[in-house]
């Protein structure tokens, strides 16, 4: 989906990986960022992956470059550290656990991944890796630093689809 009209019709939205600066600027161009925010406030479930989680956050800073002025949705009261584990050469695969949503084992693909450096008390931490927060949830909003869309494990997708079904009832 590319336009605000597309967003209006949705019951749930997954913002996948990509470049958060690019996605943010493009959604600003056609005002879909505002519509996405209204839909989230109205209870639409959203899953933000990597760049998508950055977009959901309140503030984002790059590990090297510092605070970025990119457009953000400001829906999750968290502070994001971009490129938290380093550049592409440091990208990695590792097993993580999201026990509170009954996914005790998940193969995480971390590509120039961000992490949550500060989270407000109303934000639930779903997973940590090396003491860094890599998955969070607040009501209808989920953010992950890793890429469930690049693996064959669909457990997180299933969990998200259930959230969407519940929100329709």
């Amino acid at each position: 989906m590319k336009t605000a009209d597309d967003v209006e019709k949705l019951d749930g939205l997954i913002i996948p990986g990509g470049e958060s600066t690019t996605i943010g600027q493009l959604s600003l161009v056609n005002s879909s960022l505002r519509v996405i925010k209204e839909k989230i406030d109205g209870g639409m479930p959203i899953l933000g992956i990597c760049a998508g989680m950055i977009l959901l956050s309140k503030t984002a800073a790059d590990r090297v470059v510092g605070k970025t002025n990119q457009p953000l949705l400001d829906s999750l009261d968290v502070k994001l550290e971009r490129n938290s584990f380093g550049r592409q050469r440091e990208s990695f695969e590792a097993e993580i656990a999201m026990d509170s949503i009954n996914i005790p084992k998940f193969h995480g693909i971390f590509i120039r991944a961000p992490s949550v450096s500060e989270a407000n008390s109303d934000v639930e931490v779903l997973a940590k890796f090396n003491e860094k927060i890599v998955a969070v949830k607040k009501g209808n909003i989920i953010g992950t630093a890793f890429h469930p869309e690049l693996t064959s494990d669909v457990s997180l997708h299933k969990y998200f689809v259930n959230l969407v079904k519940e929100s329709k009832n």
């Binding site: 590319k2 990986g17 990509g18 470049e19 600066t21 690019t22 600027q25 493009l26 161009v29 990597c50 760049a51 790059d62 090297v64 470059v65 970025t68 971009r82 490129n83 380093g86 550049r87 592409q88 050469r89 440091e90 990208s91 990695f92 695969e93 590792a94 097993e95 693909i109 590509i111 120039r112 890796f129 090396n130 003491e131 890429h147 690049l150 693996t151 064959s152």
Partner: protein, 322 residues
């Protein structure tokens, strides 16, 4: 799930290590191809300075490619074109948050190692620079850093993927501002993909063996690619793109994204043009928006461009036979 056709699991570039108490893997095909996947539908811009890199980032580029000279200036300068100054690459890495790529010469294993140690996010083994080895490309499986390579045909693309490339781009004819060759190359790759898919669907394995011999690659990668009906890595357009309409047209031909070399920073309206090409690449299937993007640029500011037929140096032929 990413296609992993042609993957070598025993590659030296795949590293298992302990990170605190956790077992991790770096340099796998999923991580390398996944990185390229994150750039899909985006524009990678050639830059030579920090200022250009910042303009590119503000315009919405998904990544920048650092060179010593833009391809059209490489043509004018002649001589040997080598990898960019490490200090400039590092300065750019410190001033933008988007991924930074850099070019090394075809077959120049040590320029690639230098770029790896510099920690660039992707290495382009590029025909824009003077080839260091006419017979061999770099064995890219030895690297944890992913590579992108140029290709004019399915055979070239598969040979590069078999050597470990995590991303393919058309070669086009760099530094010309002439998009004709890029169009030819993407159409050729797509035609050939359709042809091997048809052979696969017909169940004629003998003919696939013949194709593998013709392409000079293994049977397995031909079979897996034929089954997919597309390359197992993302395929961008590159070489001669100068306007939003150029970018949109190439996207409509099935490219996954766009590289712009001289087209932006050799034009006199670089800022507007960079933004306009990003918009046209994203909204290529909406001609009204492509028109709006095209309106942002002034054709009188476009780089002059070169006729491919009269060129003395055809960069696309470099490394083409190996």
């Amino acid at each position: 799930m990413l296609p992993l056709a042609g993957e070598r699991k025993d590659a030296k570039g795949i590293v298992s290590e302990q990170s605190d108490a956790n077992e991790i893997i770096r340099g796998s095909s999923t991580l390398k191809r996944g990185f390229a996947h994150m750039l899909k539908n985006g524009v990678v811009m050639d830059v030579t300075t920090v200022e250009q890199a910042q303009i590119a980032e503000e315009a919405g580029a998904v990544s920048v490619m650092v060179l010593d000279k833009l391809p059209s200036d490489v043509r004018k300068a002649g001589g040997v074109a080598r990898t960019a100054s490490i200090r400039i690459i590092q300065d750019i890495m410190d001033s933008v948050t988007i991924p930074v790529m850099a070019k090394c010469r075809i077959g120049h294993v040590y320029e690639a190692k230098v770029l790896r140690e510099t920690d660039v996010d992707m290495i382009d083994e590029s025909e824009v620079l003077t080839p260091a080895d006419e017979h061999h490309h770099i064995w890219k499986w030895d690297f944890t850093t992913p590579f992108v390579n140029g290709a004019r045909s399915l055979a070239e693309a598969l040979r590069r993927i078999e050597e470990g490339a995590a991303m393919i781009r058309t070669k086009g004819e760099p530094g010309t501002g002439n998009v004709a060759e890029a169009i030819t190359h993407i159409k050729k790759v797509n035609d050939e993909l359709r042809a091997i898919k048809a052979i696969y669907d017909s169940g004629d394995h003998q003919d696939l063996v013949r194709m593998a011999r013709e392409f000079k690659v293994s049977y397995d990668i031909v079979e897996e690619t034929a089954k997919l009906g597309r390359l197992p890595v993302v395929n961008f357009a590159a070489g001669g793109i100068a306007t939003p309409a150029d970018a949109a047209y190439l996207m409509s031909l099935g490219c996954d994204g766009i590289f712009v070399g001289s087209g932006i920073f050799n034009a006199n309206d670089a800022k507007e043009r960079a933004r306009a090409i990003v918009l046209a690449t994203t909204f290529w299937d909406e001609p009204e928006k492509v028109k709006e993007a095209q309106k942002m640029i002034d054709e009188r500011q476009s780089m002059l461009g070169l006729d491919v037929n009269t060129l003395e140096l055809k960069m696309q032929e470099r490394g083409g036979t190996s």
